[in-house]
């Protein structure tokens, strides 16, 4: 078990392209940290640098207090699970899982004990004699995880391990990974582009964008208190609505002027925070789940607006209704029981307790 530290880590490829631009990150012992971000944000490169599969251009990576910059992968005491499983096709499941231990000259009994233990945790006991080609995608991924578990390493590294699985299996394996972590408690760094995976698995989520860390926090923090426009838009599905607005001060009360003549009052407890911004153009951010059919109207700071749906997406447990405000698409999340009709205006309740204001220039959440 160990903590992982990244200090001013830079990765620059030939030709001067910087994939990772000097990031700092401290991962505690036993922690499950998920690196999330769009393609090309540097998350996989970061993971591969921790693994030792990529050289570090500048900065320092330490595992368990030891700087590992110049230590080859085999001596870093890490285990990695790859997106395409990377099982050795000519070996049985047992041999695949035992390979790392065999190379490290573990006694046969110990190897057997560890493989059987991992197989029990992952429920693949009956597959030990099979070759990888005789396994389904989910089973292969379990074996890949088994190969990591038997090593009992300081750190587990997962590189988009669920991306090759179908949606249903992905959810199932997600639960499985969480259970495994709760059992073995090994420090884990997990890379994914799927924010749902990130939110559900992580103790802390690291949102990356263009080689930088945008924000680090618990899933709840990222959801409720995003630091930047990028994080606000990336975390949450469907994405947060961001509507261009102007903040006006009229007789001591702040009001947001939205397209379509909509005026929303800023909650009193936020007046002080937003007062210096009066007269400025801002982005008004509100998650679809905070723009619903009229409900909780007795609570403070619930504003009613009217909108005519342009697209209706029934999802079963909820219905998404999409309308536009001067060209900006806005999504509302409705109870499926609420009658919705294309083009017919209906009232919506905006929960302004949950609103965000974003500076369109800097992209910072204000």
């Amino acid at each position: 078990m160990a903590q992982v530290s990244l200090r001013k880590v830079v990765k620059e490829y030939e030709g001067g392209v910087q994939a990772v631009k000097g990031i700092n990150l401290e991962i505690a012992d036993h922690e499950f940290v998920v690196l999330v971000g769009p393609s090309g944000c540097g998350k996989s490169t970061t993971l591969r640098m921790i693994a030792g599969l990529e050289d570090i251009t500048a900065g320092e990576i330490a595992i368990g207090g030891t700087v590992v910059n110049d230590i080859p992968p085999r001596d870093r005491d890490i285990a990695m699970v790859f997106q395409n499983y990377a099982l050795y096709p000519h070996m049985t499941v047992y041999e695949n899982m035992a390979f790392g231990l065999t190379l490290r000259r573990f006694p046969k009994d110990e190897i057997r004990r560890r493989v059987e233990n991992a197989a029990r945790i992952l429920d693949i006991g009956e597959l030990l004699d099979r070759k990888p080609k005789a396994l389904s995608g989910g089973q292969r991924q379990r074996v890949a995880m088994g190969r990591a578990i038997v090593r009992d390493p300081k750190v587990f590294l997962f590189d988009e391990p669920l991306s090759n699985l179908d949606a249903k299996l992905r959810v199932q394996m997600r639960v499985e990974i969480k259970k495994v972590h709760q059992t073995v408690r090994t420090t884990t760094v997990y890379v994914t582009h799927d924010q749902v995976e990130a939110m559900t698995l992580a103790d802390r989520v690291v949102v990356m964008n263009q080689g930088n860390i945008e924000q680090v926090g618990t899933p709840q923090e990222l959801y409720h208190r995003p630091a930047t426009r990028f994080v606000a838009g990336f975390i949450g599905s469907p994405a947060m609505n961001m509507i261009p607005a102007r903040l006006e001060n009229s007789a001591g009360a702040l009001r947001l002027h939205l397209p379509g003549e909509i005026v929303l009052p800023v909650p009193a407890e936020r007046t002080q925070r937003y007062a210096p911004l009066a007269g400025r153009e801002v982005l008004f951010g509100l998650r679809p789940e905070h723009l619903t059919e009229p409900k909780n109207l007795d609570r403070p700071n619930i504003a009613l607006v009217e909108a005519a749906p342009e697209v209706i997406e029934p999802m079963g447990m909820e219905t998404m209704m999409i309308f536009s405000l001067d060209g900006t698409e806005v999504t509302a999340r409705l109870d499926p029981a609420v009658p919705v009709e294309l083009g017919r205006k209906m009232p919506l309740a905006a929960d302004l307790n949950q609103m965000h204001l974003i500076d369109p220039q800097s992209g910072r959440v204000l």
Binding site: R74, I78, Q83
Partner: protein, 300 residues
Amino acid sequence: MSGASLTTAGAAAPAYRKVGSIRRERRWALIGAYVALAVFVLFFLTPPFHMLVTSLKSSAEIADLSGNPWVVRRPTLENYWELLQQGNYLLHFRNSVIVTLVVVAVTMVISTLAAFALARMRFWGSATLATGVFLTYLVPETLLFIPLFQIIGGLGLYNNLLAMILIYPTLTVPFCTWIMIGYFSSIPKELDEAALIDGANHFQMLWRIFIPVALPGILAATIFAFTVSWAQFLYPMAFLVSSENMVLTVGIVSDLIRGDTFQWGKIMAGALMAAAPPLLVYAFLMDYYIAGLTAGATKG
């Protein structure tokens, strides 16, 4: 426009109109393929069949031009018997086996290591080197044997089997390396990375992962090296002079043709027996060979 014309046609024609049959097309394609294959097989099996027929005839029957040359009237094994009992045929066979086995072993060791390095260890100039390896294969041996003659002479290996063991790999190593570069490149990179993390060094990665995974490609390369060494004619012809040092290919023609006297029966018997080992190797490894060649082809 097209929509309008479609509607008119649709109104006149029945709802479904059969325009072709996949099954019929497939049958014709199969018939065509079989006819082409039959012609091919007939054409290429005629010489071996003639060899077999001739090898079973006595010298007198071969010389007798009155009968049908494709029919054996009095089959005899005397050609085979004499070949195995008298002369240097068995010695030539042994020489061929020694040279081929050593050349195949040397080739496989060199090309496997070279291919692994060129396919996986990205180093300065590796791509150019890989192309360079293949280019050496394109230089014809008919050009090479003259300078090689000087080198072999200088080394004092003229009329020595060791010369063959030294020269044949110049033919086999480039092509085998090339096949295996293609095969190794098709192995997913994550497999090496998994092995590296599991604790393997480069040699263990090659031995425990690459060689077993790339076995079809390695067998294809082995068969190629075997065939080239076994059938090589020009170099032994140029560098071996005394009968006891010869390999089969030149041994047969130099021992069984005296002046203008061709011992056709024995030549054919000797050639047929010489063709047996490659045939056996192919028969056993054919599936692997094809798998190996195609894998190399798509990636190389």
